[in-house]
């Protein structure tokens, strides 16, 4: 049943993205069916958000860990990518400094802070985009789960985590660009970021990463590990008396989820062209939880669906009625909680008699 919905979801993503790529590259601007490049990047952004939603669903839907700080892992992945993109600019910056990014020259840095070393290598930066979120999740999760912090208390400290990072990244002397963050990127892997082909490449990369994360998540939740995880979600103390250590299960899935969120963030930054401390804002993490609730918690595919639907709605609303977006989002959340406890996917499954 859910295997079918995963296959359908992956099929739709791949076919849709391939179609968009062809219609962007093979047709001239203004031609009928031409897909403009801004739409390519917009969908790329939705798909990187979908990876974040998948990460949230993995811990919340299956592990019962309501993380209200998952955007922090997304932002950390994004910053690692941003650092690479800034160093890739090289001497083409406003100040023409070959090693120091513009904001460091502006802030009178004499040399590159040690933690910026290596970020000129794309491979190193990509590795950091997953290692840093994984390490933060490992350390945070180790102490939180070992101390048996759960439920609303855990949610509160995850909010505190992302808020603390928000404040830290706002500081100029952290060396991450402070309030302004990082922007004005030029190339990625030597390819110009403004080129249509690069944009399409990033969209395809996002689609592939999302499908891969979906398959990994699907494997994890259907394995015996996943069954134990669901048991922990529903009756943690019972699993202890059966001899399982719930903290190990939670920690594993929390770190895996942070890695996925980091990948999402790394794909997000080159497509939107900026990363700043605002990405750590607690509201972002809460929005990600809403995507999952809207799509259908504990279904994986629902998380992807929810992220795309809500963000498409956001694009439409913020364009058409900018002042009403937050009301619409709040209303949507209430509506889903009251009328669609299993989200949009639950509704689809009901309509198709559980076949999807």
């Amino acid at each position: 049943m859910s295997r079918l919905s995963t296959s359908i979801c992956i099929g739709l993503i791949l076919v849709g993205v391939a179609l968009m790529a062809i219609l962007n590259l093979a047709t001239a601007a203004g031609a009928p069916f031409h897909v403009p490049t801004y739409a390519i990047s917009l969908v790329g952004k939705y798909l990187s958000y979908a990876i974040l939603a998948l990460a949230v669903d993995l811990v919340w839907g299956y592990g019962g860990i309501l993380s209200l700080g998952h955007a922090a892992f997304f932002a950390l992945g994004g910053y690692a990518m941003g650092m690479y993109l800034l160093r890739e600019i090289g001497p083409r910056g406003v100040y023409g400094n070959a090693t120091l990014p513009d904001f460091m020259v502006f802030l009178n840095y004499k040399s590159l802070p040690w933690y910026w070393n290596g970020f000129n290598h794309p491979g190193f930066a990509m590795a950091m985009a997953v290692i840093v979120p994984a390490l933060v999740a490992l350390i945070f999760g180790y102490f939180a789960f070992r101390s048996r912090v759960s439920g609303v208390y855990l949610s509160i400290i995850t909010q505190a985590l992302t808020y603390a990072l928000l404040l830290a990244f706002f500081r100029n002397d952290m060396g991450f660009g402070g309030n302004n963050g990082m922007t004005d990127f030029k190339d990625i892997f030597g390819l110009p970021l403004q080129a249509d082909s690069t944009r399409v490449g990033l969209l395809v990369a996002s689609a592939l990463a999302l499908c891969l994360c979906l398959l990994v998540a699907r494997y994890v939740v259907t394995s015996r590990f996943g069954q134990v995880l669901i048991a922990v979600r529903d009756s943690e103390s019972r699993t202890r008396f059966l001899g399982y250590r719930p903290e190990s299960y939670k920690l594993f899935v929390f770190v895996l989820s942070a890695i996925m969120a980091g990948i999402g963030g790394a794909l997000y930054v080159p497509q939107v062209g900026i990363i700043n401390p605002g990405e750590f804002s607690p509201a972002n993490s809460i929005e990600a939880v809403i995507w999952v609730a809207v799509g259908g918690r504990g279904t994986l595919v629902g998380a992807v669906l929810g992220a795309v639907l809500v963000n498409a709605g956001k694009t439409f609303f913020t364009g058409a009625f900018p002042e009403f977006w937050l009301f619409a989002l709040g209303f949507l959340f209430i509506l889903v909680t009251l009328l669609l406890p299993k989200g949009v996917l639950g509704l689809l499954q009901k309509k198709t008699g559980g076949r999807v």
Partner: protein, 252 residues
């Protein structure tokens, strides 16, 4: 008058155990010795400390003082719940707690003795051996026809049996069973008594129960708890004639 046997030939040895919660002495100088292979019924009025005793044995609660020793050599007060479960002590709760979204089969599969670490369960595949063992348990607990049923959809009595089956799957040396027949029909109660007697052929069992007819049907040594310590111990006839027991249950 409890006679405390030697720790050396005991399966479970509790000596002078006390624990207080906010000044309330839930367990007060409790001593109890269980021989290997024995089945023991523990009775007592509400608040006598029966469940707290189970919590101490399984590592959920740490005693303030006293010794809790398993198989004559392992100090249980130093271990946590998963470690104690791994040693071979299984527990069934008063309120049946099965994993409701999983079916009967999967509940038993998760309970089967085996490697509990994530790195094993991540790659584990169901083996023929595991299937045979689950089939065997399903027969014992009379749930063979319901193997694919979501356990949340079982009746109360069926859940109780499933939980006993999960205990068996753990292959513990000692089973702690808290009020197994609460809410069961008379025929279910009788079947449960049979089941426990059957289980006791290979394992030691401690049963906490209110239902005196059920305890009588088990026909085993009885320990009466009152205000956190042992009031009386012996056969069911012996304890039910003990004037102090009569006073606690009927008097005041």
């Amino acid at each position: 008058m409890t006679t405390i046997g030697a720790v050396s030939n005991s399966l479970l040895y509790l000596n002078g155990v006390s624990v207080s919660f906010d000044g309330f002495r839930a367990i007060n100088d409790l001593s109890l010795v269980l021989a290997p292979g024995e089945m023991r019924a523990v009775i007592g009025p509400n608040g006598a400390g029966k469940t707290t005793m189970m919590d101490i044995i399984t590592g959920k609660t740490r005693p303030d003082t006293g010794e809790v020793i398993f198989r004559a050599d392992t100090d249980l007060t130093k271990l946590d719940e998963p470690a104690i479960a791994a040693l071979g002590i299984g527990r069934k709760f008063q309120k049946p707690t099965v994993f409701e979204v999983h079916n009967v089969w999967d509940n038993l599969l998760l309970a089967l003795a085996g490697d509990r670490r994530p790195r094993f369960t991540m790659w584990a595949r169901e083996t023929g051996e595991e299937r045979d063992r689950i089939d065997e348990i399903l027969t014992t607990i009379r749930l063979s026809d319901l193997r694919h049923t979501r356990s949340g959809d079982l009746s109360h009595g069926q859940k109780q049996w499933l939980e006993i089956g999960m205990l068996l799957a753990q292959e513990p040396q000692l089973l702690l069973v808290d009020e197994p027949v609460a809410g069961m029909t008379d025929s279910e109660t009788a079947q449960t008594a049979e089941l426990l007697v059957e289980i006791n052929k290979t394992r030691s069992v401690v049963v906490v129960e209110h239902d005196m007819d059920f305890v009588r049907a088990l026909g085993v040594r009885v320990t009466v708890l009152h205000e956190g310590s042992v009031l009386s111990e012996g056969s069911i006839d012996h304890v039910s004639e003990d004037p102090r027991v009569i006073e606690v249950y009927l008097g005041r």
